[in-house]
């Protein structure tokens, strides 16, 4: 009853009041726009710094770091690619792809188990999963090194992939679980009544409905794996297996670093992740999940 009255009121609002409301909306929106703009500057200006300095020589970076480059050294990028990236690119690609696939799939399974079932020790297992986020990687070096040698995977891709997956599972499980928890119970119930088993419900309902979070999880895992260098350096010795972070090291030294080339190398290295993120943007469309209850 109340709603009807409200609706009628809305329809009879005279035109000029509607206009006022629009102006008011814009006025109220301006602090929001200002905030966005300020934050944008805070983020974009340093990013701009990175780009222009990747075209400079080391001396120029230290000499006039905020000015535009005197000479645009595209050679920085070529050098970075030739020595720091090209040989390591494929390795990074393989390790990252494998890690993402494994992490997201295993975590999704685990998240499903943790979110849609009631069983003994559920909270305990949740803590068990989260616990992985609490270990400082440096202290795990020696035990992990021993384990990897014992398993016979030292100096292979698996020496990187398996630990990475293990360390990303906690956060990925948490994320996917939080999304799964929001799926309305009615959906499951109706599918269950239709005779679907848990696996079918998982594959046909949960996964498709939560693509955004899984995609986000993939991007986050990709970014972590692509840039990870502690394990990549310690568990792998052969040049032929090293990933990009090891390759980029070639531009750094205790006494001297070729910063221009290093920046160029890091820019190049960031591109695949950015591309991945951009491609995934189409999943970030509002309304993907709304309307599903009615359907």
């Amino acid at each position: 009853m109340e709603a009807n009255e409200q609706v009628i009121k809305y329809e009879t609002i005279p035109l000029n009041r509607k206009h006022k409301k629009n102006r008011k909306t814009i006025l109220m929106a301006s602090p929001v726009y200002i905030l966005l703009f300020v934050y944008f500057i805070i983020i974009a200006y340093p990013l701009f710094w990175m780009v222009i300095n990747s075209f400079k020589s080391t001396d120029e970076i230290f000499g006039s770091s905020w000015a535009l480059p005197e000479k645009w050294l595209f050679s920085n990028y070529i050098e970075a690619w030739d020595t720091g990236i090209s040989s390591y690119f494929v390795n990074s690609l393989i390790v990252t792809a494998a890690t993402c696939l494994l992490t997201v799939s295993i975590s999704a399974l685990g998240a499903y188990g943790l979110s849609r079932f009631e069983f003994k020790g559920k909270n305990l297992l949740l803590i068990f999963c989260i616990g992985g986020m609490m270990l400082s990687p440096q202290v795990s070096l020696i035990p992990l090194y021993k384990l990897i040698q014992a398993l016979g995977i030292h100096d292979t891709y698996l020496a990187m992939i398996l630990p990475y997956v293990a360390y990303r599972i906690p956060i990925t499980v948490l994320l996917i679980r939080s999304a799964f928890l929001e799926v309305p119970k009615d959906l499951e119930e109706s599918a269950f009544l239709d005779g679907c088993g848990t696996w079918k419900i998982f594959i046909k309902i949960f996964v498709p409905l939560n693509l955004p979070i899984m995609v986000t999880a993939t991007v986050l895992t990709a970014y972590f794996t692509w840039n990870e260098f502690l394990f990549a350096l310690i568990f792998v010795d052969s040049e032929s297996l090293k990933t990009i972070p090891a390759g980029l090291m070639q531009f750094r030294d205790a006494l001297q670093t070729n910063w221009g080339v290093l920046l160029a190398g890091l820019m190049i290295s960031a591109i695949p992740i950015i591309l991945l993120f951009l491609c995934m943007q189409k999943f970030f469309v509002r309304g993907l999940t709304s309307g599903s209850v009615k359907g």
Binding site: Y39, I130, G131, M134, E182, I273, G287
Partner: protein
């Protein structure tokens, strides 16, 4: 209530996770806890059992308290900036008025996340530079010249300068997570509120926030555990200096392990971090009553 065909179904789903975690995470954790009762160097083959001595030494170490204080500062500031700030940013970007540019902003705000810490450290060394840094230049420009200083080089400001860098990098990350969560909120809820004449802030407080409760739990957890395990930013930006003023538990651990060769002591610090973060997580789980309909 959903019941699997067999009672062990949930365990089956969890099995791959648990296997990975057991081998590659919990085996090192257990070893680590074991190590904290010994005194040894990475070079020497022998370990001397010292019982709780490492823990006692840690409690007497005044640097431990400085580091702990810094981690707590990290935690508080991170939650405020990242969770609170990230949520607001996400809500703004998902609101109708900013719909057009939201894709663009989303990408730009997320970019800092994909930049490696090496670059960010160099970048901020220049931003904070006492002479040519833009922070000091900006302050002088707006007439606040008294506030200019060597941000990374003075013991009062060093840790705050470091924390600020982490916020710069990570707000976008948390913001993305909230965006995904907000997108899962059914439009109908907002439409109903519009009809009731609710303003932006009311809608935010009464609809958005409760609907993303689970994500708030996750992001707070991520932020808090991150704050206690942080290592890269303080290490690369200040090395824990000047003195120990910007040391955190992570840098303390690293220094013990790789400079002082006290692996046992380092393990003790790691165990303490573990216990702290575990406690925080359990408290959070209880507070949020996660997994139950709020």
């Amino acid at each position: 209530m959903l019941h699997g065909k067999r009672k062990i179904t949930p365990y089956l789903y969890l099995a791959p996770c648990l296997l990975f975690l057991l081998f590659f995470v919990y085996y090192p954790i257990v070893e680590n806890i074991r190590y904290s009762f010994f005194d040894f160097s990475a070079f020497s083959p022998s370990k001397t059992f010292v019982g709780l001595q490492n823990f006692i030494d840690l409690l007497h170490d005044k640097v431990f308290y400085i580091a702990l204080k810094n981690n707590i500062l990290y935690a508080v500031i991170s939650v405020v900036c990242q969770v609170f700030g990230g949520l607001i940013l996400a809500a703004i970007l998902e609101a109708p008025i900013t719909r057009l540019l939201s894709g663009f902003f989303r990408t730009v705000f997320f970019l800092p996340v994909v930049i490696s810490i090496t670059v960010i450290a160099l970048l901020f060394t220049f931003i904070y530079d006492p002479q040519i840094g833009i922070l000091n230049n900006f302050l002088s420009l707006i007439g606040l010249e008294d506030w200019t200083r060597a941000w990374l080089g003075e013991s009062e400001t060093a840790i705050f300068a470091v924390i600020a860098v982490s916020q710069w990098q990570s707000i976008g990350y948390i913001m993305m997570l909230f965006i995904v969560a907000i997108q899962g909120i059914p439009k109908e809820l907002y439409e109903a509120a519009d009809i009731d004449g609710a303003g932006g802030i009311r809608k935010f407080l009464n609809i958005t926030v409760p609907q993303v409760k689970e994500m708030i739990f996750v992001t707070t957890l991520i932020t808090l555990t991150g704050a206690f395990t942080v290592f890269n930013e303080p290490y690369i930006l200040t090395g824990g200096g000047p003195g120990n003023s910007s040391d955190v538990l992570g840098t303390l651990l690293y220094h013990s392990a790789f400079f002082e060769d006290k692996m046992g002591y380092a393990s003790t610090i790691a165990t303490v971090i573990l216990i702290l973060t575990l406690m925080i997580s359990v408290i959070q789980m209880k507070l949020f009553r996660t997994g139950k309909d709020g």
